[in-house]
């Protein structure tokens, strides 16, 4: 009785696996989801395959499938412009068949860079700088020589920045050069501040 039940079940399972895989062993496509991809240039790589991923894609699947037991390790071969992508912890590599299906979860963030410059002539305390209303403030202490400064909050690619002087130091008048711009792909280090005696 028992074996007569098992036999049709086995036959059914075989039929299903044949239908889905065209015969032979089980195959595992290497696929996954992507969040936050906004720019072009992303190329993923695993098992000798390179897969360019177009702008705005939310899913990907490598052209060749793996067999049960094959090891995969999806890595970023080329980062997209202005962004950094990577697999979420624990989803990039595994052995095919350990999970019912391979689902790599890839996240992309827009790159951020610092803004700052050189302050010269700051012989008194009290200077307060701000990058707009949400970019943070900075209150550099006086220095006998010119020194570099950097805002704590970095600025995302393609976001504007504008450094202004909220409070002048005691007895000095400072001016800002190159105060405003749109963030590119590198740190901004030329927002220079020069202070001279007031009056």
């Amino acid at each position: 009785m028992k074996s007569s039940l098992m036999r049709p079940a086995f036959a059914l399972a075989l039929a299903l696996s044949l239908a889905s895989c065209g015969g032979g062993k089980a195959k595992f496509p290497i696929s996954g989801v992507i969040t936050g991809l906004q720019y072009s240039g992303l190329v993923l790589s695993t098992n000798g395959m390179d897969l360019p991923v177009p702008t705005g894609a939310t899913t990907f699947t490598f052209p060749n499938e793996l067999e049960y037991g094959d090891v995969y390790d999806v890595t970023v071969k080329n980062q997209p412009q202005h962004q950094t992508c990577g697999p979420q912890l624990g989803t990039g590599s595994n052995t095919a068949g350990r999970l019912a299906r391979i689902n790599v979860s890839l996240g992309c963030v827009i790159n951020s860079y610092t803004i700052g410059g050189t302050i010269s002539g700051l012989t008194a305390d009290g200077l307060v700088l701000a990058n707009g209303s949400t970019g943070g403030t900075l209150a550099p202490s006086k220095g006998t020589e010119a020194f570099k400064y950097t805002f704590a909050n970095p600025v995302q690619y393609n976001v504007t920045y504008g450094v202004t002087i909220i409070t002048q130091p005691t007895g000095l008048t400072c001016t800002v050069a190159n105060s405003t711009g749109v963030m590119g792909d590198a740190n901004i280090e030329n927002i220079n501040i020069n202070c001279v005696p007031a009056g």
Partner: protein, 194 residues
């Protein structure tokens, strides 16, 4: 043996609770987290008492413990001067275990930041910036408005791009947002090289 351990650990727990919390009738923590504040002024209450002053966002726990099966009702007694309102979620219930999921969500007041433009004429290309806020000013405009600014936050308007053939300057464009709208920022443009 077992019950003596229990008694000892209960006594220890009581001692800890008393020393940490200044007494109280209960044995359960009552708290959660606060967001959207940046200065002092927020006072929370439980059942109309147990005032708890909070001055920074993050976790909070009432000093008075609450008893098992007692009702709690967390309300806002007062809010910081720059806050519009604070809303409490999961604030009411009956305590069966430590309650640490009360959310107090505050919204800081915002005010307008705007002003006048003179001399722009039909020139296009003027773009004003307040940090990450970017506003293009259309040709022919005589006024402009930036994104609203939180009370007590600094602001500083700068020019990202000048209009074609003109050079513009900003006056009264830097400061700290007070309790009222800022409406007097002046952008004046003159022909370049003039």
């Amino acid at each position: 043996m077992k019950s003596s351990y229990l008694r000892a650990s209960l006594a220890l727990a009581c001692t800890l609770a008393l020393s940490a919390c200044g007494g109280g009738n209960g044995n359960l923590l009552l708290g959660g987290s606060v967001s959207g504040i940046n200065k002092e002024g927020l006072v929370l209450q439980n059942n109309g008492g147990s005032d708890l002053a909070i001055s920074a966002p993050g976790q909070f726990v009432f000093k008075d413990l609450v008893g098992t099966d007692s009702n709690y009702d967390v309300t806002v007694k007062s809010i910081p001067s720059n806050v519009e309102k604070c809303e409490v979620t999961n604030g009411k219930g009956r305590a069966a275990f430590n309650i640490l999921n009360i959310l107090v969500t505050c919204t800081i007041k915002t005010h307008e930041l705007k002003g006048t433009v003179t001399g722009l004429g039909n020139a296009s290309g003027l773009v004003l910036v307040n940090g990450s806020d970017r506003q293009a000013v259309s040709a022919g405009a005589t006024s402009f408005a930036m994104t609203k600014v939180s009370e007590d936050s600094p602001y500083g308007i700068t020019i990202l791009t000048q209009p074609a053939g003109l050079t513009c300057h900003v006056a009264n464009g830097v400061g700290k947002m007070g309790t009222a709208d800022v409406t007097g920022v002046q952008v004046s443009c003159v022909p370049s090289g003039a």
